[in-house]
Amino acid sequence: MHQARYGVSGASVKGDRKMFTLIKREIEDHIAYFLGAVILSSTLVVLSVWAAYNYKNEPPVYSVGLSIPVIMILVIGFPAIGVSQMSTDRNRKISAFLSALPVTRGRVLIARIITGILAILTVLVPLTITAMVLWQLLVPPIPIIYPLIYPCPIFDMFVTALLMAFACYCLGLLTGWASSKATTTLAGLGLTFVLIPLVAVKGFGLHTTVILVLFIIASLIRVWQKFMSTPL
């Protein structure tokens, strides 16, 4: 009846287009975090280049000076994105609204996690590229320690930082979705402060990667289970 009267312009939408719409929505809703990530990343790149040329002969000062803000971002920034995504959803009942549309809860969560990964990459990729360029320019050639695993130590560092950031982000997702925020925040912070010394003690490499991957899998399973089973 309406079709005859009004005409129909709608068409069926493919799943990947819907996923793109969901990711776009997440990015737009958390644009402040992306802008923050770009600003931080740019600042760190400038600082790295400046420090690399000004403290050429003092590598400890250079590395310690840079690692502190990076760790701070890992511990505070990335969990904050996860918390913000989930608590905004909970407070504004976004998933409840989206679930009434042709979108499954699983897709909403996957889109959210992809957005989180994009935010992490926004910070880490420029830093890694800068570090690789500086490494090539300033560090004399050294033998590659793990030729079968990673082509160079910078890549080791990037993988560890990415996994670490993602693990912290997953803790943020869990905290944001939990009804008792205080307990989950404390538990999340506790776990984060276990992960940082772990990386400090074990260093960058296969062992740390395996531990972080296992931690991430466990966190993601918990997030998935909590998100899918909570009444909306």
Binding site: H2, S9, S12, A96, S99, A100, L101, P102
Partner: protein, 301 residues
């Protein structure tokens, strides 16, 4: 075609140890406008949320369009329009942005119908949802639900917050919509006159059970209210089966009886009332009788 679009089988739901739904069975055939009634906290919204898979049942099963609610796919959701109680729209979005989001995520979207509805309702598409009045939010929610041209439309108290004119417009639209072949509406409301106007089947929830589940006309025929006046004082021993309510005052008895028939009429005449007048009962009167705490109507219908 008598295919059931909605099926509820022995549905039980507990909240914090409190039984809200106690063994509900319900079937809504294709093309039916089903009015779900009940007092506050009687479980109307809970049934709808369980049907849509937003809330897990404690026991029992529910099906929408032949698919179990707990495993509704995106495709099935695309055939269902839903107007939630309280109109949970994303508050910080503008109406236009929300409409764009719904359009991008829908399987089917009728632009012209949506524009037509927003014009009828005079909806400002550039304003944030949080700045819209409750009535405007209800209208926007309804427009979004109708724009996907759903096979099944679930309306959870949709006229809440609408003024009389907007309510009338909404009802006209709903009636227009049902004219489309195969379209089904599940309609829950507190405004009984609305339900009476559009529903062709009624379910009344009382005490966690579906006390009434029948066609509206059938319900009106089955429940009768009489005023009996006797020459002397009214008899104390006037017993009929399935008396729902009885009030005695001097020579007068006002009583409501379920499943009225000739046998009951004959029985009543043996008490020789000097007059027996049938009092008209609206859906609201029947609803009040059904949902009284001490009512026995549920057992009789």
């Amino acid at each position: 075609m008598n295919e059931n679009v909605i099926e509820v089988e022995n549905l039980v739901k507990y909240f914090d140890g409190r039984c809200v739904l106690d063994g509900i069975n319900l079937e809504v055939p294709r093309g039916c406008i089903y009015g779900l009634l009940g007092r506050n906290a009687s479980g109307k919204t809970t049934i709808i949320r369980i049907l849509l898979g937003l809330e897990p049942p404690t026991r029992g099963q529910t099906f929408l369009l032949g698919v179990e609610s707990t495993s509704l796919s995106a495709k099935v959701h695309g055939r269902i329009g839903y107007v939630a109680e309280g109109h949970n729209l994303i508050q910080n979005y503008t109406a236009g942005r929300l409409a764009k989001l719904c359009k991008d995520l829908s399987l089917h979207w009728n632009d012209k119908l949506f524009e037509h509805l927003t014009e009828i309702f005079h909806l400002p598409m550039d304003r944030r949802i949080g700045q819209l009045s409750i009535g405007m939010r209800a209208q926007l929610n309804l427009s979004l639900a109708l724009a996907i041209e759903p096979e099944l439309l679930i309306l959870d108290d949709p006229t809440l917050g609408l003024d009389t004119v907007a309510r009338r417009q909404f009802l006209e639209l709903a009636i227009d919509l049902i004219g489309q072949q195969g379209r089904t509406i599940l309609f829950s409301s507190h405004i009984l006159s609305d339900v009476e106007r559009i529903a062709d089947r009624i379910g009344i929830l009382a005490g966690g059970k579906l006390a009434v589940d029948c066609a509206l006309e059938e319900l009106k025929n089955r429940v009768k209210k009489f005023r009996l006046i006797f020459p002397e004082s009214a008899p104390e021993n006037l017993y009929l089966t399935e008396i729902v309510n009885r009030e005695i005052e001097g020579r007068e008895i006002v009583m409501t009886v379920a499943n009225w028939n000739q046998q009951k009429q004959d029985m009543l005449e043996t008490f020789k009332p000097s007059s027996c007048t049938e009092l008209p009962m609206s859906l609201e009167d029947i609803f009040i009788e059904c949902t009284r705490p001490d009512t026995v109507l549920a057992a009789h219908l």
